[in-house]
């Protein structure tokens, strides 16, 4: 089994050559091989479980004392934090975010303070009178809402998918705009468009076996069976997935077989390998005929109700290494300004610790956006940092549940606006955006 894994990992391009040769004969590649100069990609990195934002970005000015007092047994020492300046004062990044600090200082990272799901502007004063997102503090609901930007209903399409719906009408590309390398993702499900899913270390290619002419008959039969309408919706849906797999495989395997593979070395972590695959798809953007792509990646393990410090250390180390390699890959491909990477996580965590040295589910939290200096207003922080005071003006309860001061909708709309969506489109993609005075918050140029 390991052989197969190694084979497809090392020889993804070789494995694709069969389909590639076939498509060359059909002239499909030539038709698509026009250079897409107006290219932009968004890459979502979802931190599943609820990242502890309080220990990701810490105020290191006079407010450090309040931070330390709020969570004495799970606080980070002031002298290990990685200093960054923002908003005229000093903050410290988690000590494992060495590359993020380096990139921040190179204006390649922007920090966004206290982002969260909201229906309309919400404060302690109106907390009991405004409509709140459904089931705050719930993993499943908030994970969904960060991807759908529709916090008052259950499920529905994703905001990336709705962007793809609009962009697909402006593009001749047949390859899907949404690509998930982390399984099914609500973010990329549109109302009219569907993402495809790729898996690191695995190709979309249907493997051939046995006699060649028999295999040709099998391939033809498989594709024919996909076209039969049995009258059963479940069977039709299954055939739809496989049909898209077969179609996408032809395009992507042919594209990946061309050009020069990336030399950037990615760490051997799940997230880094996902981002490596994203980079490999971006590399062949012109062969695929794409000028807009939205990617979904993710890593889990952030739900640390106990023993936060050692776990968070490992997680942010993984995140830092993966992001750093991916930024290097965008530099290698010359698309630094065209690729913007952003983090999401279903919620932040309580300021107040749990009884077992962890932190519990909360609400607003800090995010990061990474990209090129030509696209991103990096080296700065945006939004309003919450006051670290239990039961204080920013606490929705008694344990430090920060009421978001920037809505997910504004965060997403800033990215979508950079992507080229009109003001009208933004309101389509983010149905509650019109409730907020500023639709975008300035971290993109």
């Amino acid at each position: 089994m390991r052989n197969r894994r190694e084979f497809v990992t090392r020889c993804g391009t070789l494995a694709a050559m069969g389909a590639g040769a076939q498509l060359l004969r059909l002239g499909i590649i030539a038709a698509k091989a026009q250079t897409a100069q107006d290219y932009k990609a968004l890459v979502c990195v979802f931190l599943f479980g609820g990242n502890d934002g309080n220990n990701t970005i810490v105020p290191t000015d006079s407010r450090y004392a309040a931070y330390q007092a709020m969570r004495p047994n799970i606080s980070l020492a002031q002298n290990v934090l990685l200093p960054v300046g923002a908003q005229g004062t000093s903050y410290g990044l988690h000590p494992r975010l060495l590359n993020v600090q380096r990139l921040y200082n190179a204006q390649r990272v922007a920090l966004i303070f206290n982002v969260g799901t909201l229906v309309s502007p919400t404060t302690k004063a109106n907390l009991n009178s405004v409509t709140l997102p459904r089931n705050l503090y719930s993993h499943s609901d908030q994970t969904s809402q960060w991807q759908t930007a529709n916090p008052t209903i259950s499920g529905g399409s994703g905001w990336g998918g709705r962007m793809a719906d609009i962009l697909a009408t402006q593009s001749a590309a047949t390859f899907p705009i949404g690509v998930s390398v982390n399984g099914g993702s609500a973010l990329l499900n549109g109302n009219t468009t569907r993402p495809i899913s790729l898996m690191p270390g695995s190709s979309l290619e249907l493997e051939r076996f046995g006699d060649g002419s028999a295999m040709n008959a099998r391939e033809a039969g498989l594709q024919q069976l996909l076209t039969f309408d049995t009258g059963m919706q479940m069977i039709g849906a299954a055939s739809g997935v496989m049909t898209r797999a077969v179609s996408a495989a032809q395009a992507i395997n042919a594209a990946l077989a061309g050009g020069t593979p990336l030399t950037t070395v990615f760490p051997n972590t799940g997230l880094a390998q996902q981002l490596r695959q994203v980079a490999s798809v971006i590399r062949v953007r012109a062969a695929l005929g794409m000028n807009r792509q939205i990617f979904f990646c993710g890593m889990g393990g952030f739900d640390n109700h106990s023993d936060l410090l050692p776990s968070h250390d490992n997680l942010l180390n993984t995140l830092d290494g993966a992001l750093s390699a991916f930024i290097a890959a965008t530099d290698e491909m010359g698309v630094s300004d065209a690729v913007t990477t952003f983090t999401e996580s279903e919620f932040g965590r309580t300021g107040n610790p749990s009884s077992s040295n962890g932190s519990d589910h909360a609400w607003g939290s800090h995010t990061m956006v990474l990209g090129g200096t030509g696209a991103l207003n990096g080296g700065q922080a945006f939004g309003t940092f919450p006051r670290h005071e239990l039961r204080g003006p920013d606490d929705a309860g008694s344990r430090g549940l920060w009421i978001p001061t920037t809505a997910l909708d504004q965060y997403g709309a800033t990215l979508a606006s950079w992507f080229g969506l009109s003001a009208t489109d933004l309101n389509t993609v983010f149905p509650n955006l019109r409730n907020f005075a500023s639709p975008t918050i300035g971290f993109m140029r």
Binding site: G184, L206, A214, M232, Q233, M234
Partner: protein, 321 residues
């Protein structure tokens, strides 16, 4: 998450909005009930204050760390002074008696055992048995499973009938159907993990997929589709090819004789597949496609590989009904 009617549909308030079953306060109060428990240290009855994670024995209560004050959750008062064990038993009873449990758990059992889109009537009928098995016993799961499997709706003839095989079942169904035996179970577990279902290691407490997952752009509830993507669909098809082709070597004991014996007559071979593997559901056009491909395969072994590969990769096989 929201209050349910006996048929599993959401209850709504005067504004037509669903009613949350519990609030964050309920969670905080229930957390107080759970205080005082730690892992076993292997010496029953002598719990230390906080033991490292250990899963080979029941957790143990440390009364000095149990919050034995009065509590209130799910609109029920819990008296002060209960021990950790009494408090836990009492709390589980409060949850068990909540009217949501019947329709909530019965819908999911039907989804696992029969189909993804049970009608409200189906849920109502089964939940009624959960609530009372006829002898005033609540939660008799034997009676519940009997009610599920003997209900007229097991026929799954509605357009939204059936369920997608989850990876573990996709694998085991094929192995059983062709009469193979697995000699290396961890190996099969790896296969399932490749299809996004690492056995006993779901990525979160929310299982591998949500019972409410919908196929994008449709009203079709199809939980297993959350992990049936272009990537895993391809991996599943390649698994079927490797299995029938014998690529798994000593990990799977495979003998295709019972199939190759029939290979001289494509019609007979497909008839047996329809009877043994598809329960007689194969359509005429599906049969014609497979027969044609068999006839284009050169020898008995290749004919069987073609027949089994096309069957196992078909949506008609992957969707159980």
């Amino acid at each position: 998450m929201t209050e349910l009617n006996p048929d599993g549909t959401p209850r709504t308030n005067a504004q037509g909005q669903p009613i949350p079953t519990y609030t964050n306060d309920d969670i905080l109060e229930l957390a107080r009930v759970m205080t005082g428990w730690t892992y076993t240290d292997g010496i029953p009855g002598q719990p230390a204050r906080q033991n490292p994670a250990r899963y080979d024995g029941p957790m143990e209560a440390v009364e000095s760390l149990h919050d034995n004050g009065a509590k209130r959750f799910l609109n029920t008062d819990v008296p002060a002074g209960l021990t950790a064990t009494q408090d836990l038993d009492n709390a589980l009873g409060i949850i068990f008696r909540h009217p949501n449990v019947g329709p909530f758990i019965c819908r999911q059992l039907i989804q696992r055992l029969v189909g993804s889109n049970p009608s409200p009537g189906y849920i109502r009928d089964v939940a009624a048995v959960f609530n009372n098995n006829g002898q005033n016993v609540r939660g008799d799961l034997r009676a519940v499973v009997r009610a599920i499997l003997t209900h007229p709706e097991t026929a799954q003839t509605a357009v939204n009938g059936g369920k997608m095989s989850e990876p573990v079942l996709y694998i085991t169904r094929q192995i059983r159907d062709i009469g193979a035996t697995v000699t290396d179970t961890p190996f099969m577990s790896d296969m399932s993990a490749d299809m996004a279902q690492r056995v006993f290691h779901s990525p979160s407490v929310f299982n591998y997929y949500s019972p409410n997952f919908r196929v994008a752009g449709t009203t079709l509830t199809a939980p297993e589709f959350q992990i049936y993507t272009t990537a895993t669909a391809t991996i599943r098809a390649n698994f079927a090819g490797r299995l029938v082709n014998g690529n798994f070597g000593s990990n799977v004991s495979l003998n295709l004789m019972r199939w190759t014996d029939l290979a001289t007559d494509a019609g007979l071979l497909v008839n047996r597949i329809n009877r043994v593997i598809l329960g007689g559901t194969m359509s005429a056009e599906m049969r014609a496609t497979i027969v044609d491909a068999i006839q284009r395969s050169p020898n008995a072994r290749e004919k069987v590989l073609t027949a089994l590969y096309l069957t196992f990769t078909s949506s008609q096989f992957q969707v159980e009904r």
